[in-house]
Amino acid sequence: MLSLQAIRHRYDDRTAARVEVLDLAAGEPALLLGPSGSGKTTLLHIAAGLLRPSEGLVRIGGQSLTALDDIALDRFRGRHVGIVFQRLHLIGSLTVLQNLLAAQYGAGLPVDIGHGRATLAALGIEAQADVLPARLSQGQAQRAAVARATVNRPQLIVADEPTASLDDRNADAVLNLLQAHARACEAALLIATHDARAKACIKRQITLEASA
């Protein structure tokens, strides 16, 4: 589902991220590990189509991202990639449901309120559909962020340090949630983290080396 080949990314002649080969099958979860500054976030953004690598090939579901122009890449990312940010970044002026509808709109899909509510229901927060994100508890907000990342049934879900600021119970819950929904969408799941708790529950691990 996700395939990275011979990826290099440089900022001002300094290599910030490199990976030779990384293939993830549909529904397969993997961790991206490495010390701080090793390029986890950079690689995640490359995989998600947010950043074009200096060198190398990125394919999602058979589509080469290099072949897409900027607008098509934006559209493709909206349609086929779900991103869960560490600080969630729910849009504060929109209700939880509207955040999901914004994802449908951004992807160029027809806005489907019923499907949005069903997605929220699957995550157990349908009662919060019409609430602004500021009103949510930490756990509810995380579920809302996962709902937004999965509402378009993406082929790839990426998450950057999703457990960094959470206690054990919440960290566990989020990891399980991500895996369950990635499996349900048959999406590859790539999680960047240096959280030991994640290592315990996801077997597939890619470790980046600290860049020189």
Partner: protein
Amino acid sequence: MNLWTLAVADLRRYRLSNSLHLLLMALGVALITALLLLASQIAGRFARDAAGVDLVVGAKGSPLQLILSTVYHLDIPTGNIPLDEARRWAANPMVASATPISLGDNARGYRIVGTTPAMLERYGARFASGRIWQAPMEAVVGADVARDGFRQDARFAGSHGLTAGGHVHADHPYRVVGVLAPTHTVLDRLILTSLDSVWAIHADHDDHDDDAPDDGYHADQEITALLLRYRSPIAAISLPRMINMQSKLQAASPAFETARLMQLLGLGFTTLKALAGVLLLTAALSIFIALYTALEPRRYELAVLRSLGLSRGRLVVLLWLQALVLSGAGTLLGVLLGHFAIALLGALSPQASGIRLSGTIAVAPELGLLALPLLVGTLAAALPAWRAYRSDPATTLADG
């Protein structure tokens, strides 16, 4: 869910500060609207009041004063002219019609104008009730005057001078024999009577000879001015010069004098328009500051929108839309405020002042105001939109 929903939701989130930006815009537009309405209504009123008058012949003095006093009934007259001489000019072949008027008295501040029925024809006035004067001391009153207590068949005494408070001619009461329908001209505020009535009162002061026959007149009889209408436009070239050269009278053109007056007023309008321009610029700046400072706290949300699939172009449209909503709503509110202000001014301005203002009339230049939000919004959104276009979502999202 579309760009519009996104734009409005975000504007609603900071509704207090956004309302203030909007209000600033509205004030600038309100000032411009009020100026446009004032200018057009004053000009329109001047034109209607002077309808059918090409030239005024009166006593020497300030030409502007002559016009203001005899056509617009605002100033005091420059003096009187002998009736014979006025008749001589009225009979000139270049003159199509002539209306004599004689001023001097008022009733509770309303000017009593001695004249001929030609005065009514000039304004196309129709009677709401009654008939035209047929004998001395019969009066026809304008609509506003009638509403102020001078009803059909009412009796009233004139008093000396053109403003309330002069010597009262209590022994010569007038009777209202006709009331005119509103004409929305100065006629609505006048009391009209025959020249004989005016002469009778003042002759009576001299020699108690108030039985002057209808069409006879004394050699020393005077009127205030003669309002002339040319037979052909050619007359405009020679007639005024002839009158000014060949007699002790003065000829003045309402069109020329009001143009001069509007020019003087225009100076004031220009200053006010500049002020409104500054206000609008301030409004544009204020909307710009609103959008620009919001970019910093919004940069994550804008980056997230990119990650959700929105292109750079659509972020630009989003910001532009927000600027348009603010400036558009500001313009709309401003136009309403401007009309309201004029309506208020019209309602509060004392009955005695000449110009009746209306807030319910729209003028063509207001259509030009519709382009304003486009201009202001685009100006205000340009730099924020450019920054949003340039910003890289990966960089933004990497540090948070």
